[in-house]
């Protein structure tokens, strides 16, 4: 019964989305009396789709083996956390989560939006319903999560062991909230284009949603990077894998949008451009979903290879992106000219920021889609990897952090280059000291890591410079947010550069009792023992790492899962204030020796600490903006 109730709720939600779109369209075409009905419909639609998702979770928790999806992706012996998170560890469940967030986003807009005029708000909700309809159709016609199977088998096939990780409970929901948060920015942009109300009010209404989505994307990417780092056991933190790019591209667009929305809100400039970016940002979310879910890429994220589903998403993509761009082309002339501004000013720097972000986005998009396009057209197979992205996006990213250092030190409207030079003197001096240090102490490191360390030192100082001369207790929260987020970028950059410049590696086959050296550590291989978990067995190695008086114990494992039968390596990582010791247990040679791979990675944790700081900065900015709005409303 639960599965049928879920399916019914899903159909009802889809019908309400259609109603929401129809009511909205009629209200805008002169039947203004219908307008007030749109918001309640959006709220009920969100509630119904949330109910459908909750029922699917319940089906998974109860291990109902008469539901095909549970049989294919779950197993009754799984720990409850993975039954719960396994709900979205598959194609159908993750698409249901996607529309649930879409529906809840629409409901949130309906409940919270008070700034926009009535017509634009209705057009926004109609646009959100139009997006929802496509994905409802996709679920109901091509990927029904509630389909029954008869006769019901005794037990399920289990979940891919790589996904049996606590990260599965947080990583997909976080990223999806970010992806789908951008749908709200998209709907606002479309709504404002329809009614011709593109201006500072739109920017202020859109900004909290963009900020929220951006914070979650930042967290999702940071967490995904750490997950790949410890779970894959390869010691790398970013692989330029198409799946990673699929999450990076919306982030790049959202970061550009975040900055241009500020220009629109403060200076009423960059009107058409901001609307365009909002369209691009959600388009990137959809392209990301298409890449990840269609099965044209091979990865832990590609759940099922069914070409029909891929084509379905591709058609949806074409309709939404094409439709929004056509609307833009038709209505762009109705968007009023933005206010003019001087090239040397805060808004000038933000324009350069936007151009650089767009260029990097273009490069990543090209590198991700090019192999697919070539294969489709010529059948030739090629892969684009780290060498391409490092060589093309790397220099642009370094240019971007220079603009990031200078931009916040410029005044709005108009400023002088000389004044900027004075304000940048101290950061530049620090960078020059860093140049001396880096070139004297690191004769062997590559060019990019060296530049990274130098830039990190300079921008770390420059990012806190906007606080100079301010009364810190009276500094608005959103300024603190900007400073912390920019400082986080410097921290992250330092971690990346340090990781690639200073990492030490040891790879050997060792007998129990042997002592190995990696960087400043001496590591004794004590021995191996068999261990068992709820649904796996493993060989666990015991390592004792010593450095001076510090003694650490590490226990990397090679695991064997029962259902489906799969081996995985579980790395053991010891975190010290100065870096991480990363150990992986390989295979036995059958003669008493075990493969061991040891890395000493100085300061590597800064990469993710920086990402967390960026997100915290975003959260502070969001809080500050919301508080300020409330105060303005109260007055």
């Amino acid at each position: 019964m639960i599965a049928e109730a879920g399916l019914a709720a899903l159909w009802l939600a889809a019908a309400l989305a259609l109603l929401q779109l129809g009511l909205g369209a009629l209200a805008l075409r002169g039947h203004a009396a219908l307008g007030p009905a749109v918001r309640p419909v959006a709220v009920v639609q969100g509630a119904l789709v949330a109910l459908a998702f909750a029922l699917l979770i319940l089906v998974f928790l109860r291990s109902d083996m008469s539901v095909a999806l549970v049989v294919e992706n779950s197993h009754s012996a799984k720990p409850w956390l993975y039954k719960f998170a396994g709900t979205w560890g598959n194609h159908e469940g993750s698409m249901l989560m996607w529309v649930t967030i879409l529906g809840l986003g629409g409901a949130a807009v309906a409940l919270l939006e008070r700034r926009l005029d009535q017509r634009t708000a209705i057009a926004t909700l109609a646009a959100q319903a139009a997006i929802g309809l496509g994905f409802y159709a996709f679920l109901l016609f091509a990927s029904n999560p509630f389909a029954r199977i008869s006769p019901a088998p005794a037990d399920g096939h289990g979940l891919n062991p790589l996904l049996q990780d606590p990260g599965l409970a947080f990583h997909p929901p976080t990223l999806y909230l970010g992806y789908v948060g951008l749908s709200i920015a998209f709907s606002y942009a479309v709504g404002a284009l329809i009614t011709g109300q593109v201006g500072p009010t739109l920017a202020r209404a859109m900004r909290p949603w963009v900020l929220g989505a951006w914070i979650l994307l930042t967290l999702g990417i940071t967490a995904g990077s750490y997950w790949a780092y410890y779970e894959l056991g390869w010691g790398g933190w970013w692989f330029w894998d198409p799946v990673e790019n699929a999450s990076l591209m919306p982030w790049l667009a959202a970061t550009a949008l975040l900055h241009s929305v500020t220009v629109l809100a403060t200076r009423a400039a960059l009107r058409a451009w901001t609307v365009m970016l909002a369209v691009v940002a959600f388009s990137m979310s959809m392209i990301g979903t298409f890449l990840v879910r269609s099965g044209i890429l091979t990865s832990v994220h590609a759940f099922a290879v069914d070409p029909r589903r891929g084509s379905f998403i591709l058609v949806l993509l074409a309709i939404y992106i094409g439709g929004a761009l056509a609307l833009f082309a038709l209505r762009a002339s109705s968007v009023r000219e933005g206010a003019p501004f001087e090239p040397v000013s805060r808004e000038g720097a933000l324009v350069i920021n936007n151009l650089l972000f767009s260029a990097i986005l273009g490069i990543v998009l090209t590198g991700t889609l090019y192999p697919l396009a070539v294969e489709t057209m010529t059948g030739e197979k090629l892969s684009v990897g780290a060498p391409y992205f490092d060589a093309t996006a790397g220099p642009l990213a370094l240019a971007l952090v220079v603009v990031m250092a200078a931009g916040p030190l410029l005044r709005w409207r108009r400023d002088e280059l000389k004044a900027l030079a004075v304000r940048l003197a101290i950061p530049a001096a620090v960078a020059i000291v860093a140049i001396a240090v880096v070139f004297l102490l690191l004769p062997v490191a590559g060019v990019l890591p060296r530049l990274g360390l130098i830039f990190a030192a300079g921008i770390a100082i420059a990012s806190v410079a906007p606080l100079a001369g301010r009364n810190l207790r009276r500094t608005p929260l959103h300024i603190w947010g900007m400073v912390i987020a920019h400082f986080g970028i410097a921290v992250s950059l330092a971690g990346m550069a340090s990781e690639s410049a200073f990492t030490r590696e040891t790879l050997v086959a060792a007998r129990p009792g042997e002592t190995l050296a990696v960087g400043p550590w001496s590591v004794r291989f004590v021995g191996v023992e068999p261990v068992a978990g709820p649904n796996w067995t493993a060989i666990r190695a015991k390592l004792e790492a010593r450095r001076g008086d510090t003694l650490l114990t590490l226990a990397p494992e090679a695991r064997m899962f029962n259902a489906p039968p799969t081996e995985t390596t579980e790395s053991a990582i010891a975190t010290r204030p100065t870096g991480q010791l990363y150990t992986v247990l390989g295979k036995s040679d059958g003669d008493g020796r075990w493969q061991l791979r040891l890395w000493w990675k100085p300061m590597v944790t800064l990469i993710w600490a920086g990402g967390a700081l960026v997100a915290i900065g975003g959260a502070l900015a969001l809080l500050g903006r919301l508080r300020r709005e409330r105060r303005r409303e109260a007055m």
């Binding site: 044209i296 059948g379 090629l382 093309t392 642009l396 390989g586």
Partner: protein, 143 residues
């Protein structure tokens, strides 16, 4: 500057930036895009010595040899028509085994040997790398 002119200037700047990015991307792709090779491509084409490429196929049964250091392996990769010798130093992925599919990332040496710095193994029946599936189709060796 008049607003009209400024809009035009901004537009030009954006066009220049996009074109620049596209040119950069294209030149990068020409230099860096690594091609996917099946063993029979290797024998037919000129060897791309020293360039990062991918080699895909099945690990020949009985070809796996462990070197004395315990972390280097030698094996042969086939697509059903030709085979290529491969050397890899590191911890082979869990699903790497004889008779199973593999994609090796690395470089060809002038003697025809492939030195891999990374191995990607087929995860399970549901996770056949599409590139490998394609290479197998080409030679009609799909199971």
């Amino acid at each position: 500057m008049k607003p009209k002119n400024q809009r035009l200037a901004l537009l030009l700047l954006a066009v220049v930036a996009v074109l620049g990015a596209a040119l950069l991307a294209m030149s990068g792709l020409r230099q860096q895009a690594s091609y996917f090779y099946a063993p029979s491509d290797v024998v037919r084409d000129k060897l791309p010595v020293g360039r990062e490429v991918r080699l895909g196929g099945m690990v020949v049964k009985g070809s796996l040899r462990h070197a004395r250091d315990g972390v280097t392996i030698d094996f042969r990769v086939t697509d059903g028509m030709k085979t290529v010798p491969v050397r890899f130093r590191g911890i082979a992925p869990d699903l790497f085994r004889e008779g199973s599919g593999v994609v090796a990332e690395g470089t060809f040496q002038s003697d025809g040997r492939f030195v891999a710095d990374n191995l990607l193994a087929k995860h399970d029946e549901r996770y056949m790398p599409p590139q490998l599936a394609g290479a197998m189709h080409k030679t009609g060796k799909v199971r």
